[in-house]
């Protein structure tokens, strides 16, 4: 098997046994990136010089016989809405062309200290608005399983890079499903942690009450390693929870034979191909000794509308700062007002403009308070269900990856229908690949739990992954060959 299909543990073992230097390992992934990028286009800005320097530093530690940090030598892809000092950050949008942040996101500092090798900044829907990867100023990313299909979004490049093997780990952001939905479409594992568990310092804000940094990898154990590295309090983020790790421990581990809930409304809405794989996953969990109980979470459609309102209102406010005067690229006008008007009209894409106008329309009239009330209702629905079941199991998406061109607008609109509720309720949720449809496109199963049940969800995900034994690697490899 090629090196780029291996897990963190397997690659680490090679370094510790001195089968490969870190630099040699890094070069293998650079080669993979160069092979696959022309077809997949996962990266906006490769950062290979940074990665190479990190690899050399780690090789020096090996040479000196010093202990290696936990992610030493593991290639990492970074969504382009996370700040890395001195490296261009565009958020997938034209208006930020040429912007180089003067500081580094807390989670990226932690990953650098943990020994990860930075492969580059990945493509994304502009300002994380979108679920297809189509709304990037830098062109779409293509799904490694079938290049005519969407990789999902908005963390399109992060999911595709892990799926194709140009990175082992990736960091993304999840506001309403932007990690879990592309993870499902690309056949990788994606975690949205409990709100406040990971620092957001250095993450470009879209919808502040829901934005979370999330993580992707091919295996649940690798997501767990990332989680361990990134979770923790950060004084620079007022929403970061000081007692996060304690609360994680308090939620405890997965009880054997516990009861898992299947939300009726989520299963019924899924398409036939997804439902088939989902039902098989439920059978497997029963075979593993879990009790399955059907539950009801009735406000799925209202949740989607409430999310659209909250997301647009918060997005319109957060994006008011992008005016061509303070960051990135300016489209000059006769005066500062015309410069701002031109810069925003030329530099922001149609989807971003649409949400800003919608958000300001709602702010001017009614709807935001009502949406927050619906959000409370959705959170209470979950609280009530978690009195009876330990965790929820649902499909991650209604369909497998849709075509990049000519897709039904409803499929695009509903792309994050099943991932929105956990975001509204600030809950952790994990998408695990569980099989593929008749066309060979992956299907993800979503696990949701109460706040701070992240560890328990990872354990449940690992059980499901182990029992299904589904090999999560695209046979086409995005370049017509496996190795």
């Amino acid at each position: 098997m090629p090196l780029y299909t291996e897990t963190v543990g397997e690659l680490r073992a090679r370094i510790l046994k001195k089968e490969r230097t870190v630099l040699e390992l890094f070069q293998t992934f650079v080669q993979r990136l160069e092979e696959t990028e022309p077809r997949i286009r996962a990266f906006i800005h490769p950062t290979l010089e940074i990665g190479r320097a990190q690899a050399r530093r780690l090789d020096q530690l090996v040479k000196e016989g010093k202990p290696l940090p936990p992610l030493a030598g593991i290639p990492l892809a970074i969504k382009d809405n996370l700040a890395l000092q001195g490296v261009p950050m565009t958020c997938g949008e034209a208006i930020l062309q040429g912007y180089r942040p003067p500081y580094t996101a807390t989670v990226l500092k932690a990953l650098d200290e943990a020994g990860a090798l930075f492969m580059g900044k990945t493509n994304m829907d502009a300002f994380a608005m979108g679920s297809s990867g189509l709304h990037s100023h830098y062109g779409p990313t293509y799904n490694p399983w079938q290049v005519q299909c969407s990789p999902g979004g908005s963390s399109s490049g992060s999911a595709a890079s892990v799926a194709v093997g140009s990175a082992v780990l990736a960091v993304g952001s999840d506001t309403g499903g932007s990690v879990r939905q592309p993870a499902a479409f690309c056949g990788v594992v994606g975690l949205r942690p409990t709100y406040g568990l990971f620092s957001r310092y250095g993450l470009t804000a879209l919808s502040s009450s829901m934005d979370q940094v999330g993580v992707l990898a091919r295996r649940v154990e690798d997501v767990a390693l990332l989680c361990q590295t990134m979770a923790g309090h950060d004084q620079r983020d007022a929403t970061s929870i000081p007692e996060g790790p304690i609360l994680l421990a308090r939620q405890g581990i997965l009880p054997e034979g516990c009861t898992l809930g299947v939300a009726r409304e989520y299963r019924e809405r899924a398409g036939e191909a997804v439902r088939k794989i989902f039902d098989r996953a439920i059978e497997v969990l029963e075979e593993e000794g879990f009790r399955i109980q059907e539950v009801s979470l009735p406000h799925l459609d209202r949740a989607q509308t409430a999310y659209a309102i909250i997301n647009s209102v918060e997005g319109a406010s957060n994006l008011a700062r992008f005016d061509g005067l303070r960051y990135g690229k300016a489209w000059r006008g006769e005066d500062w007002q015309r410069t701002a008007l031109r810069s925003r009209s030329e530099g922001l894409g149609s989807e971003v403009q649409r949400r800003i106008l919608l958000g300001n329309h709602i702010l001017k009239g009614k709807g935001y308070e009502e949406a927050q009330s619906i959000r409370g209702r959705v959170a209470r629905d979950f609280q009530s269900v978690f009195q009876d079941v330990q965790a929820l199991v649902t499909p991650t998406t209604l369909t497998t990856a849709f075509a990049l061109q000519g897709e039904d607008p409803q499929a695009l609109k509903d792309a994050d229908l099943l991932t929105i509720p956990a975001a509204l309720a600030s809950l952790p949720a994990l998408s695990v690949p569980c099989g593929s449809d008749d066309r060979g496109l992956p299907v993800g199963v979503q696990l949701m739990g109460p706040k701070f049940s992240d560890i328990m969800l990872l354990q449940l995900g690992q059980r499901l992954e182990g029992a299904l034994d589904w090999v999560p690697f695209p046979k086409g490899g995005g370049d017509g060959k496996y190795g």
């Binding site: 406040g196 005016d323 303070r326 006008g333 925003r344 409370g376």
Partner: protein, 93 residues
Amino acid sequence: MEIDLQQLMVYSCLQLSPKEQEKMLEELRDFACSVRFFPEVKTRGEGDPFPSPGQKLREDIPEQGLNPEEVLGQAPDREGVYFRMPRGPRRDT
């Protein structure tokens, strides 16, 4: 509710083409329809759905700021230690 798209564009600091304006108006009207079902959902009187154990605001301690040179390096235009703004609006605008 009547939708004044011209005013919204001013608020949003955006200029849309006539074709885009037409499409946007249609979307805003559709959206207004989807919100009308909200009152059907019971949302009151069941306590705080977002209790946040352990969450508290950080101490408000002043910290050293960023390096002015680095920050000014991000400005589209500068003059000495200041951002240089394009000239202000004319009286007749």
